[in-house]
Amino acid sequence: MNKPRLVVIGNGMVGQRFLEEMVERGHPYEITVFCEEPVPAYDRVQLSSWFSGATADDLALTSMAWFREQGIKLVIGEEATCIDRERREVTGSRGTVVAYDELVLATGSYPFVPPIPGSEREACLVYRTLEDLGAIQAAAQTSRVGAVVGGGLLGLEAAKALQDLGLETHVVEFAPQLMGVQLDGPGGALLRRKIEELGVQVHTGKATQHIEDGADCRHRMVFADGELETDLVLFSAGIRPRDALARDCGLLLGERGGVVIDDRCRTSDPAIYAIGEVALWQQRIFGLVAPGYDMARQLAAGLCGDADAAFRGADMSTKLKLLGVEVGSIGDAHGRTPGSHSCSLEDSVAGVYKKLVISEDGSRLLGAVLVGDTGDYGSLLQYCLNGIDLPPAPLSLILPAGEGKPALGVDALPDSAQICSCNNVSKGDLCAAVSGGCTTIGALKAETRASATCGGCSTLVKQVMDAELKRQGVEVTNHLCAHFPYSRQELYHLVRVNELRSFDALLQAHGSGLGCEICKPAVASILASCWNDYVLDPRHVGLQDTNDNFLANLQKDGSYSVVPRVPGGEITPEKLCVLGEVAQRYDLYTKITGGQRIDLFGARVEQLPAIWRELVDAGFESGHAYGKALRTVKSCVGSTWCRYGVQDSVGMAIFLEERYRGIRSPHKLKMAVSGCTRECAEAQGKDVGVIATEKGWNLYVCGNGGMRPRHAELFASDLDDATLVRTIDRFLMFYIATADRLQRTSVWRDNLEGGLAYLQAVILEDSLGIAAELESQMQALVDSYVCEWKRTIEDPEALKRFRPFVNDERGDEQIVYVRERGQKRPARPEEKAEVTAHEPQRVLEETL
């Protein structure tokens, strides 16, 4: 029997989702896909994350293997160039001809480049595909300044990309405000202010007339009133449907482009369908992925025999983080519904603007604008989409938490309420999946796809899951792992109150089984936070991650790195020379770290004690780069040398680093001290940040770099030295006592009920009456500090454990190095094979 032939043109986000929906439904077709790009579908929505470290692999939505497994033919790297509707054939740019019974257009759109003279100059680029990313990065390497044309959603994404590439970034917008589609005037103005604070320069009301040679930069953009010099221009002035193929074969198009479709995604030719950004439904193009996914779902259902499947439009609400600024837009954001009124709240100090658009009779929410804080997005969207009755004073919905704000319990939502709009998952779907055994977010996500795309719904998904579990009588636990029915915080208290000193004692009294790699290091850390015993004490050895176990950081090849403490980043030339000599003697790869100290890589286990003996003799101490403990206190040079410094930041940094060194905490801790508001030590990116003022020190807390950067918040101002240290003591001890395992202060703070105000009450006003105890606990830790390496090299029992093998002193011959840029580096597998092939097999037998 011959299967009907289905051809899909375009393997973008929507085309791929369509294929997946077809596969899920067990479709009856022989499918062929034309994919113009050199790789199959990837996540365009997350494209910008490439500039902050994601790889093409991370972005991939599918693989060649998937196509093979599903028996779908993928014509990769070939553009479909002609549709012959009579013969029902599609021809590709390389000559491939495929016949179809039914055809799906999923060709998406292309970036619109305004017809400005000069727009074709070099380094004038667009931002849509993986290949564009490469071009942007290459051009950025020879650029200092970059300008994005267009201040909409995509333009601001593009600006973020340019910033990530280190360019001085400008946004040039034709309209008088940013994000005119989604935001109203005040919202746009606040967004502009916040983005400018982040260093992006915004130019609104500017129409570019032409681009010519610049004096200082590659280009000069000339406006009706003024000009701007830039090295790179990124056009992000809107998108246009890729409808040329459809136009050529005579399909009905909209006046301004787009292939006209009906509710079943059918074009004017009943054998041809269109979905995604190329499709025009009721005069509308949907420039977001969720409506495209819905078209894909409905079309697949229809082709697989569901007569009721129909696309019925989509909600265009969006929640985003643009350049770190939270922005949300729901429904009728501009209040265009006749008779509607609005109420808003603006806090220009906190940088928050929220507006509600309410129906004439005041009972329903029609739309909303949120800038600076989108915490209310999830519940507002539910009010809007499900027509839930508004409370008598709707403004209360957008007040800061804890001020008589009515909670929209997830219980109030109907089962039909859409929780995840990207993947059309309702509350009912989630509850069904939970009943079906999905009791973790991971499982729920895998089963329903909820929160798997933009992630905007994740809080709500978790709430629905927890509520449903609770309803079913399942206890929602925060247990550390299967071996302890307690949270980290509870275990900390058990250890402290019962004065337990070992893992075995705690396990016997409060746990079961043997333990695992989750609870063992966590308990080791708790024991250390409470009693500060030697970490290589035989009772604790088996608990430690390999890093703590060898007091060094494990590298990919099984060797270790050595990081001596350099308090505040200050180091004498003599000590610098010692580091150089040791590195030379042991042939260690040497690198300055991002934490103002020096890392020596490529030491074998058995070399560590000898290396450290030399370092300790020269006055170095362990830098605890391996522990969940204080890493570095970064400092700027401060008043001692800098003409602007108002306090001795280096002195304070050294004092703090020496005070808190070695203390084990739930996760690593980083600090910094800057000598004035110019903030060269980047203190506002640290767990504890200190910035000098004329009168003393400002203290910032709970900042983070890394995967989810978070600015630290101002905690207290103009503190004298003693108050500063006392406050940090209390803060750290309170964190150690209450945080979850591997929770940085930033995440801890975000989960702390009552937020910063609560933390300030506990730490600054002693609202719980525990301040004195926290201080004395900290003092005990400070007083019991010993350098772990100094202690280890004097302890023959501990040193035994650094033998490479219990029965042989020769090191691991499979750690192999090659040289690059004058230093060694681990050999790659193919290089390793090469090196070892020439070395005769060692005879080890006799020595045993």
Binding site: C516, G542, F550
Partner: protein, 127 residues
């Protein structure tokens, strides 16, 4: 090196002494050489176990430096590099059933720890 266990080798030809029990740290692992193989030895409350030291997931000789524990009722070590779990009894990787590391039968004779000079065959383990 002068191995303290070398004495017992002749007692039982199929068994090779590798170290003394006191060379092992309870609840933790050490590496040992056995011919040209590298073995990871673990001293657990359920006895002494020996598996290959080579971690197939990272390509480094490091399994002896992992944390031992139990996971779903199985005695395991977690690789210190990317944290996959290997069963100490069968060598199976719990995350990736296709992957397994070799295991060696272990005998503790008084103070001496002895290993069979051949790894256990997978077939023997199935039984």
């Amino acid at each position: 090196m002068n191995s303290p266990a070398a004495r017992v080798v002749s007692a039982e030809p199929a068994w090779r002494g590798v170290c003394r029990l006191s060379d092992l740290v309870p609840g933790s692992g050490v590496a040992a050489r056995l011919g040209s193989d590298q073995v990871a030895l673990f001293h657990t409350p359920e006895g002494v176990f020996a598996i290959g030291n080579f971690d197939p997931c990272s390509g480094a000789n490091v399994l002896s430096r992992g944390i031992v524990g139990d996971l779903d009722g199985r005695l395991v070590v977690a690789s210190p590099v990317y944290k996959q779990h290997f069963c100490l009894r069968t060598g199976e990787c719990l995350e990736d059933p296709g992957v397994r590391v070799p295991t060696w039968p272990v005998q503790v004779a008084g103070e001496d720890v002895l290993l069979a000079d051949q790894p256990q065959s997978a077939a023997a383990l199935e039984r």
